[in-house]
Every structure is written in structure tokens, then in C-alpha cells.
């Protein structure tokens, strides 16, 4: 951006904290921690999700850990409740995460309903969100693309609403842009598309719809070249945000000449 009058892109504010990057990334499915770190840096991500799991007793006590590659002083860690199928397990996982990360309150709540679709169980999600907000957590919540539900989660006090674009890991892209638009128009908290992005254009579309950010894992980690795809996603999210702020032209059925008609020869 060489034009001095061109303002830098506005930051994403979540739970009172500002982030220059609107691309949030997962840390699963990479071949090793080195690739995880390089892809995360290429994405320019400042918020990265992590999963909370039992240690393998007798196996990985001395092994390098994910947090050596992505230390908490460098990134905002977003512990998730992936793999939880009820509110109680999700709340328990968040409490373990808070202890693990020294009182860190930001969590990604996801309560799944079904192993085949990994769609959220919205009833359990609402229940868990209420408990976590009451317990002082800053809850970023994975949900379906239902605008009414998104509103309910915001009313409960979630700090970000994160509707899916398509099933987790599917790469199908944005399946219902009108629902997303409705969620964005109603929301007073950031709306972050979480899950379903397949390639850079999907991320750009999410941002052009006015979403505040995009969270993805498989689209980057599963690409043939994850680091290059991370770079592509960074550009797409920035381009999509800039296009949203710039305001697209209306769609028309017929042509409208770009060159003046006056002064043509002949």
C-alpha cells in the first residue's frame, strides 16, 4: 500500500484485545511442529487454536511440545473443546485449559453432535456457553449458520460468534452466504467463519460478506504446500476485508462501458 492516504486495515477486537490479523489458524494435522510454526507465521495468525488432551504417560514426557513451537508470549492461544459431545465435558475441558495456560480466559467452545458431520449440538452448546460465561470465560463459540442461534449466543455473552461455512474439514466453502450475511448484519460481537473453507477464494468471500475474521485448519494443513497456502489465505483475508470496506459495485445484468463514448473515431 503506497498511497499515504490509504488507512491500514482496521484491527479485529476480541474481548477488548486488538489483533492486526483477521486470520485465525488451527494447529492440527501438520507433519511436525516446524511446519506448524512456519505455516502459522506465513498466515500471519495471532490467534491459534490448540486442543487439550491427556498426556501419553511413559511416552512423551521429554518430547518437544506444541507450545515450544508456538509459545504463549508470541501467540494468543485459543484452547478448543474439540471432541466434546456434551456441555459438561466442554466446561471441564475449558477449566483444564485455563489452569494449563495460567488463568487465560479465552476459549473456543465447540460441542459436537455427530461424528459424521461434526455439526454442533446447539442445545448443549447453549448450555455450555451459559456456564462458561458465568464462570468468567471469554467464549468464542463454534455454531451452525443459524442467525437466531447466533443472536442467542451473543445475548448469553459470548465474545465472538463463529458459524461454520460448511462441515469441519470438508473444504466445501461457504454454503449459505445469505445466512452468514444475516448473522453479520445482526451481530454486535465479531463474527468469524469457522470451518469449511477450502481455498483462498472461500476466505475472501467470507470477508467480503462482512465477516470479521476466518478460522481455518485443514485448508492450510491439508494443502500440498501448507506454508504457501497459509500465505494465500493471509492475502485472501486481507483482500476480502479491504474489498468489504471499499464497497463493491452493484451487480447488473447488462454491460456498462468503462471507456468514455465521447470522442470515438469514425
Amino acid at each position: 500500500m503506497n498511497d499515504p492516504k490509504l488507512a491500514p486495515l482496521d484491527p479485529l477486537v476480541i474481548a477488548g484485545r486488538s489483533y492486526g490479523s483477521r486470520l485465525l489458524t488451527g494447529t492440527g494435522k501438520y507433519k511436525d511442529f516446524d511446519e506448524t510454526r512456519r505455516a502459522t507465521l506465513a498466515a500471519g495468525a495471532q490467534i491459534v487454536t490448540v486442543a487439550i488432551r491427556r498426556v501419553n504417560i511413559g511416552q512423551d514426557a521429554g518430547a518437544p511440545s506444541l507450545l515450544d513451537a508456538l509459545p504463549p508470549h508470541e501467540f494468543t492461544l485459543l484452547p478448543n473443546t474439540a471432541g466434546c459431545y456434551n456441555a459438561a465435558d466442554a466446561v471441564r475441558t475449558c477449566r483444564l485449559a485455563r489452569e494449563l495456560l495460567d488463568g487465560h480466559a479465552l476459549v473456543k467452545l465447540e460441542v459436537l453432535g455427530d461424528e459424521k458431520t461434526l455439526f454442533p449440538d446447539v442445545v448443549e452448546t447453549l448450555k455450555a456457553a451459559e456456564q462458561l460465561v458465568a464462570d468468567g470465560f471469554d467464549v468464542m463459540v463454534y455454531t451452525s449458520d443459524d442467525p437466531i442461534l447466533a443472536r442467542r449466543l451473543e445475548e448469553i455473552g459470548c465474545v465472538a460468534v463463529m458459524p461454520l461455512a460448511a462441515p469441519i474439514g470438508s473444504g466445501l466453502g461457504i454454503q449459505n452466504r445469505y445466512n452468514l450475511l444475516e448473522i453479520v448484519e445482526n451481530a454486535k460481537v465479531p463474527v468469524i467463519v469457522d470451518a469449511g473453507v477450502g481455498t483462498a477464494s472461500d476466505a475472501a468471500i467470507a470477508m467480503e460478506l462482512g465477516c470479521d475474521g476466518v478460522l481455518m485448519n485443514t485448508a492450510i494443513a491439508g494443502a500440498r504446500d501448507p506454508v504457501l497456502m497459509a500465505h494465500a489465505m493471509k492475502l485472501a483475508v486481507e483482500a476480502g476485508r479491504a474489498a468489504f470496506k471499499a464497497g463493491r459495485i452493484p451487480r447488473k445484468r447488462y454491460a456498462s462501458a468503462s471507456s468514455p463514448l465521447d470522442g470515438t473515431i469514425g
Binding site: 488451527g26 494447529t27 492440527g28 494435522k29 501438520y30 506448524t36 487454536t49 490448540v50 486442543a51 487439550i52 488432551r53 491427556r54 498426556v55 504417560i57 511413559g58 514426557a61 521429554g62 511440545s65 506444541l66 507450545l67 492461544l77 484452547p79 478448543n80 474439540a82 471441564r92 477449566r95 483444564l96 485449559a97 489452569e99 494449563l100 495456560l101 469441519i168 474439514g169 470451518a195 478460522l215 481455518m216 485448519n217 485443514t218
Partner: protein
């Protein structure tokens, strides 16, 4: 006495503390969180928290995830 550690039975000396269990398992000083019978035992309490027969202990850490 016997406890359950991460879902598996384990024999430990009577009144072993959480801190001692972590040392035995190789996790002393590592970034982990500990839960005993579904209640968090904060890091500051590891040395004072003795385990009892039948306790269900979970030691967790952060791994890659989306």
C-alpha cells in the same frame, strides 16, 4: 495404593502428592494441568495435595487442533 491415571490403573506409594506423581511420570516443570476426581488442582497446590486410594487423576497438555 491404587489410583487411576489418565484412565489406567497405577500403583503409587500411600499419600503421594500431585507434585510427586508428576515427577514420577516425568512431567515436573512441564506445562500440564492436573485434575483429581474432576476438580482442578492448581499448580500452586500440587505439593500440598495428597492423593488417596481410588483417586481418578488426569494430566493434560496442549496439542495441535483446529
Amino acid at each position: 495404593m491404587q489410583i487411576t491415571l489418565n484412565g489406567r490403573p497405577l500403583d503409587v506409594a500411600a499419600s503421594t502428592t500431585v507434585a510427586q506423581l508428576l515427577t514420577q511420570a516425568g512431567y515436573a516443570g512441564r506445562r500440564v494441568a492436573v485434575e483429581v476426581n474432576q476438580e482442578i488442582v492448581p499448580r500452586s497446590r500440587h505439593e500440598q495435595h495428597p492423593l488417596a486410594e481410588g483417586d481418578r487423576v488426569e494430566i493434560v497438555h496442549a496439542i495441535g487442533g483446529g
